[in-house]
Each structure stands twice: as C-alpha cells, then as structure tokens.
C-alpha cells in the first residue's frame, strides 16, 4: 500500500494530527508562492494596465488612459507583421532542424563505441555556453567575411568568401541558435531511447521488420512523449531569443531579423513607448500560448495516427 502511494505522489497523512496539516502546509509553501506572485504576476498586471495607456517616457505629460487603442494600433503597423513572421520563421526553423539533427545524434549515441562518454560531453558543450559568447564567437571568428573561419574554408576551396551575416542574416541567426539547441534535443531524445525496451526491437527484428519499420512503429511512438516535451520547452525558449540577435545583427538589416523580443525591446527602450510596447508584450504572451496549444493538438493527432497505422 505504501509503495503504491509513494509512486502516485501522495503519502498517507494520518501519522500527523490532521488539524496541524493545513497550517503546516501554508507555513512551508506561502513564502515561495508569495514571492512568485509578487515577482511574476504583479508585473503581468502592470503590463496589462500600461497597455491601456498612452505613455511615452519622453513625453510623460501626455500620459493618459486610451482603453484598447494600443492593440489595433500595433496591428496596423506593417513592421509588426514582419516581426511576427520573423519570430515564426526563426522558431519553427530552429525547432524542426534541431529535432532532425538531435534525433540523428541521439540514434548515433545510443550505440556502444569507443569514446562515447567524451563524445557526449563534447556534444552538449554548445548548450552550456553563454548565448552572448556563442553570438560573439560566431559573428567574429566564424562568420566574418574577411578573416572568419568559414570564409577561409571557402577561400581554400577556391570559392568566393560569403558574407552570411550581411546577405542571409536570418539564416546566420538560425545557424547559431541551432548550434546552441541541438544538444538539448539530443539529450532528451537520448534519454527516451535509453528507456526503450530493447527486447521489443529484437522481437520485431526476428519477425522480419526492417529498420524503417522499427523506426516508424516502435521508436517514434515510444519517443513521442519525449519529442513533445523537448519541442514544447525549446519553443518557449526560442520565442524569447534576444541575446543572439542583439549581438549579431541588432535586428537588421532594417528589421529583417527582428523578432518579438527584440521588437519589444526597441519599442520600450529605444522609442520609450511604454503603452505600445506593453500591448506588444500582451501579444507575445498570446502568441506563446497559441503556438503551444496548436502544437500540442498537432502532435497528439500525429501520435494517435502513428499508433493506429
């Protein structure tokens, strides 16, 4: 009985007097909860309140309540839609590419070969590196058209040196973030692969299933939970990417690589338009939630089909 209750996450409470429990619980959890409410929910309410105001810090005397006016005003700016498109392009490209690369690496690492521990350690390192360091490193030492390593490699091969940051800035940003986040996908998928019952794979092999069938009908359904989790977590982080863009392209040229995070930063701390920036912040929160809900639906449906076919 006790074993089962531990697994389900509840412990019988009769050992301690019932009347003590609620106050004990409150005593232990209240400090953490109050702290979190003050630091995260209060600012959120302020964001909503600011989004209903005309308020530019450069012209504080014109501050006033404008109701919902900021929201359509943001939508009417063509730049806002470019920013949304950039955010979606960046997030979806990074998630899809890291998923494929992470899967390949996880499958390769889920074997026994010499130096496996060191290889795994080396592969997770990009994820541990400070995003601003990754960005500074890629921008200068790798992407620099005149002296960078990639340019030199092209030159050695007799090709013209590409200026990736100038000509394909979005691709450059995507490359950097993919490099940082592939280890994350790999780690979680590898944990999933290692929890797979190898006897099922062997039984399928004996029954004559080929590798593709095993991948589709055993591996993918088993990994679905891990894929879902990894993609969800990664998506939330990539939606909020800031440092890499700030360091490498400053959102440019123009606004070609400006995502929502960077756009809101410009609106709030360059133009000092607190009202409009807050309205954009609300849109960012809505977008994060919509992407999550849509994504979970798509994945659930794929999961069901994967199991039935």
């Amino acid at each position: 009985m006790s074993q089962a209750s531990v697994l389900s996450g509840t412990v019988p409470e009769q050992e301690r007097p019932k009347s003590v429990l609620p106050s004990l619980r409150r005593l232990l959890t209240t400090p953490a909860l109050v702290f979190m409410i003050i630091v995260t929910q209060v600012p959120l309410l302020f964001t909503i309140a600011y989004s209903l105001q005309r308020w530019n810090l450069l012209r504080p005397q014109r501050r006033g309540f404008v109701g919902l006016d900021n929201f359509p005003r943001v939508l009417q700016e063509p730049s806002f839609w470019t920013i949304i498109r950039n955010t979606m392009t960046l997030t979806l490209s990074v998630v899809i590419i890291t998923l494929v690369l992470g899967m390949i690496l996880a499958l390769l690492l889920n074997r026994t070969f010499p130096g496996r521990g060191i290889i795994r350690t080396m592969l997770i390192t990009p994820f541990l590196i400070m995003p601003t360091v990754s960005a500074v490193l890629w921008k200068n030492v790798l992407f620099n058209p005149a002296f960078g390593l990639i340019g030199s490699a092209f030159a050695l091969a007799g090709l013209p040196r590409p200026d990736i940051l100038a000509h394909e800035p979005m691709i450059a940003v995507i490359i950097i973030i993919v490099w940082e986040w592939t280890p994350f996908m790999m780690l979680i998928l590898l944990a999933g692969l290692q929890s797979l019952d190898m006897e099922r794979v062997e039984a399928a092999q004996i029954d004559g299933a080929d590798l593709i069938q095993i991948f589709r009908h055993i591996l993918i359904p088993h990994l679905m939970r891990y894929i879902e989790l990894a993609v969800l977590m990664e998506m939330l982080f990539i939606l909020s990417v800031f440092g890499e863009i700030f360091v490498t392209t400053t959102g440019g040229p123009g606004i070609q690589t400006t995502n929502l995070s960077f756009g809101i930063y410009i609106e709030a701390f360059q133009r000092w338009d607190i009202g409009q920036a807050s309205a954009m912040g609300i849109y960012a929160i809505i977008l994060a939630n919509v992407m999550l809900v849509v994504f979970i639906r798509v994945l659930r449906r794929g999961q069901d089909e994967g199991i039935t076919t």
Binding site: A32, V39, T40, I119, M130, S240
Partner: protein, 273 residues
C-alpha cells in the same frame, strides 16, 4: 556479419565527424585565445603556433572582466541560495503533505516559468527604476530567484518523492518531529539531488542575458553583459575576446559536464529522469 561491422564502423566514424564539426567552434575559440592578435588573423588559419598568455593577461586584468565576474558570482550565489531557501520547504510540503490544491500550485509554478520575459520586462524596468533596484545585485538576485524557483520546487519535489516511504514511516512511528524528519531523514537522502538542482540554477542564472541587459547598467552588470560589449570589437581583438569569452564560460561548462545526468531532469522540470 562483416557487413554489420562495416556499417557499425561507418556510423562510429560519422559520429566522430559530426562531433568534430559541432565542437570545432569551441576548440577554435580556446585556440585563438592563445594566439597573438596577428596570428589570429592569419590566412590560411594556423593550427600550430607559439602559444602566448599575453591576451589572457590583458582580457582578465586590464579590462572590466573581474568586476563583471564578481557581479556574476554575487548574483548567482545570492539567487541560487534564495531559490533553495524558498523552494525546498515548499517542495517538501508538496511532496509529503500535499493538499487539494497541490496540482494547481505545481501547474501554476510551471506557467510562470513559461511566461515570455518580454511580457513583464516593461513594468519590471519601471518598478526597478522607481524603487532604486535597477543596476543593483539585489534586483538581479530577485529576478533570477523567480526564474529558478519553479525549477527548484519541481526538481526537489521529485527527489523527495524518490525517498523510500518506509524510511519516513519508520521515523514517524518513532515519533520524530517534523523538523527532525526534514533535517535528519529527508535532507541527507536528497543531498545529491540538492547539489544537482543548485548547479542547474547556477548555470541558468550565469548565462542569462535579457533581464541582465535591460535591468543593469554598470554597477551590477554580469559577465553576459560584459561579453556582449565585444559585439563591436570586430576585426581587431579576436585573441583578447576569445580569452575573455573562454574564461567567462569555463566554470559553467565544467559544472555542466559534471551534472550531465541531472541536466536532462532539470531541463524538463523533472519529467524525464
């Protein structure tokens, strides 16, 4: 059989090749930090050269590196300690004495972690400006504590739940007080998990940039902000920049290498072990 071995060797070679490509930028950064600025710009790029520590000297001692390092250390240590002090008792109660609202509390905690930082940065900036928290260690400690607290509660709760129930039950039959149960039974059993959790908090707050950049100026600016100042140092100081960058990431990279196994658990809030 022979075919299987060839395929296996091929896959192993492919693994090494991909690892080489992915790790190469880091290797190159470390290598560049030991070059002179002239050698750093050589074409074709040099793998073999006479190493020098001169740029490490400049990067560490003739710039604002140590001031930023000190800020990072203060903020990381402060925020991690505060998150543990607030989070562990909550995790303990949620694991062993959950009430009816425990599920809601846990879900709500996760939802605060999922909130996009840009959704709250404007009011935080204004509140910090008006209360004098802007550009202070205390301000950054508060922000990073809030960033890591959900992680602490979720991870520590899962570690507490891993403690065999029989051990707790034996203690309760012997009539230990709640404090004794916490301090002398539960905490010793979750110490490895406690270290892993602390390590993850440190990694996240060490690397954070968005809040640090918008809420500090100079007095409390951590390493991530200091490093971002190299964004305009294009073309001139690669060796110095590489030395500073290597020094800035070294503690976290080493900590991460040691915490590899807990990393997965921490990144997924304890959902994957």
């Amino acid at each position: 059989m022979l075919r299987n071995r060839t395929v296996g060797n091929g896959l192993t070679f492919l693994t090494y090749l991909l690892t080489f490509i992915i790790f190469f930028p880091i290797f190159w950064m470390v290598l560049t930090s030991f070059k002179t600025e002239a050698v750093a710009f050589d074409y074709p790029p040099k793998l073999v050269f006479t190493p020098t520590l001169s740029n490490w000297n400049i990067a560490l001692f003739e710039t604002g590196f140590f001031k930023s390092l000190r800020n990072t250390l203060l903020i990381v240590a402060g925020s991690t300690s505060l998150a543990l002090i607030l989070g562990i008792p909550a995790a303990y109660a949620l694991a062993y004495y959950p009430g009816k609202r425990a599920d809601f509390t846990l879900t709500w905690l996760i939802s605060t972690r999922m909130l996009p930082p840009v959704g709250v940065i404007v009011p935080l900036f204004i509140i910090f400006r008006d209360t004098g928290l802007r550009d202070t260690h205390l301000g950054m400690i508060i922000i990073y504590c809030a960033m890591n607290l959900p992680l602490v509660v979720w991870m520590m709760r899962s570690f507490f739940l891993d403690v065999p129930y029989e051990i707790l039950e034996a203690g309760r039959i012997d009539g230990v007080s709640l404090w004794q149960e916490f301090r002398f039974i539960a905490i010793p059993l979750v110490t490895p998990g406690l270290f892993a959790t602390a390590l993850l908090c440190m990694i996240f707050s060490w690397n954070e940039f968005f809040f640090a950049f918008n809420l500090t100026v100079t007095d409390a600016a951590p390493l991530s902000v200091y490093i971002s100042s190299f964004k305009t140092a294009e073309g001139l100081f690669w060796a110095k920049m590489s030395a500073g960058a290597t020094a800035a990431v070294l503690p976290v990279v080493i900590a991460g290498w040691f915490a590899q196994r807990q990393l997965v658990k921490g990144l997924t809030m304890g959902a994957v072990k």
